[in-house]
Amino acid sequence: MVLAERRDATMDAALAALYARHQPDPAFVDALRRRLRAQAEPLRAAAVEAPFGTVYVAWRGRTIWSAALAESHAAFAAVVEERCGASPLPAALPPSLAKAVAGALRGQAPFRGAVAFPGLSVFQRAVLEVVRRIPPGQVRSYEWVAREAGRAAAVRAVGTALARNPVPFLVPCHRVVRADWALGRYSGGAPDLKARLLALEGVDLEALAALRADGVRLCGSATTRVFCLPTCVAQRRVQRAHVVRFASAGEARAAGYRPCKRCRPV
């Protein structure tokens, strides 16, 4: 150190020790290295036919970076350029990735491959990771997502995070609806696209509308005395005669019901 000679060596040593005491965690260094390696791969894009239109997907290596409904490669490239700072080259999706993407776009299976969320905050990434776990054919509320992401009060921030989702359809932000089961907004495309996507996956939109009209937030089973979110798989197996409807978790608890452990309604 050049300055050390002109200063108190003890002071210099103490400062050096102070700033050297926090070293990066090796696991973090490795994880970041993998992330950078993935980012160093060239960005490519391909079109995939979905039941609701032509979806373009951009990827690097095996990680999906961007997805959108688009008219042409050029239109999609402009979107990607803005989101990722690089323009994708047209290419063909690797077969394994192509299969996973096509399945997810048909609403048959969740997309489990790697996804990049460039430029999003820690909370926004946490939100999108929560959303990835919502199974096809089910819906959750913004409140639910906020709670699962660890910040129950950040309901509006969840909306912002979903609006910034760089990979709609594959990270199924269309499965997040309002707590009263109105569909709410969707920035992925045409106004009725959210309804179309949900209908494709087998969500009963009429039943949701009926719940909304009756002010029902939760459903329970009179035989098991468990209450669920209405689209929970556990709820689908309940016979119609045994379905009990609640306006709130408090009401369900007062009636002696416990929350479902799968959909975690509270």
Binding site: D8, M11, A17, L18, H22
Partner: protein
């Protein structure tokens, strides 16, 4: 001694040129700088999680911006730390700066040798005193001791002249020492009273 940095600069230029041709070669630069960048960021943001978040942001941005880097203008380290500095500033805008927790708690790496105990105590005291400095001075210290930058590079990162950066660093260290000495005298006085 004067040859070492020159040879080092040549190696670094080669690494940067390789990474600009082939992004996969960025790995070598990453390995070289992940420690210094992390230590610098860690000193400025106060906790591990945020430090990891900001460090990741720095390298992702650097990799994306690498084609725009012009080797003739600055040394690469100054350019990279400039990105880090900007990331830290925007992080602090979102979340106000916490006092340096670099400071709290003994780290317990060394065996308890008396000299080390004294030194550790000094480290703790210095840490607290740094937390009371203004942001610019904390920044200079973090770049110098955490990032391991030399003064001309720090000057580039902060957009000041080399001479004023030298002065700032010297004065900051002198102020810290004065504060610690004063405190010691103050403690002594109160014990006597």
């Amino acid at each position: 001694m004067s040859d070492a940095p020159k040879a080092d600069a040549a190696v670094e230029r080669a690494l940067v040129a390789a990474a600009q041709r082939q992004p996969a070669a960025f790995d070598a630069l990453y390995r070289r700088y992940v420690g210094p960048i992390y230590r610098y960021v860690r000193a400025r943001v106060g906790n591990q999680l945020d430090a990891e978040e900001v460090t990741a942001q720095v390298f992702c941005q650097a990799l994306a911006a690498l084609p725009r880097y012009r080797m003739t203008e600055h040394p690469f380290s100054a350019w990279l730390f400039r990105i880090a500095h900007n990331c830290v500033v925007s992080h602090q805008r979102r979340r106000p700066a916490l006092p340096l927790d670099a400071v709290a708690g003994p780290n317990g790496v060394h065996p308890s040798h008396e000299e080390l105990v004294v030194r550790r105590e000094l480290v703790r005291e210095v840490g607290l005193a740094i937390g009371r400095l203004d942001q610019t001075r904390q920044e200079v210290l973090a770049l110098y001791y955490g990032g391991g930058l030399r003064v001309p590079e720090i000057a580039r990162v902060l957009g000041r002249s080399t001479a004023s950066t030298y002065k700032l660093l010297e004065r900051t260290v002198a102020a810290l020492r004065r504060e610690l000495v004063d405190k010691e005298r103050g403690d002594g006085a109160s014990r006597e009273a």
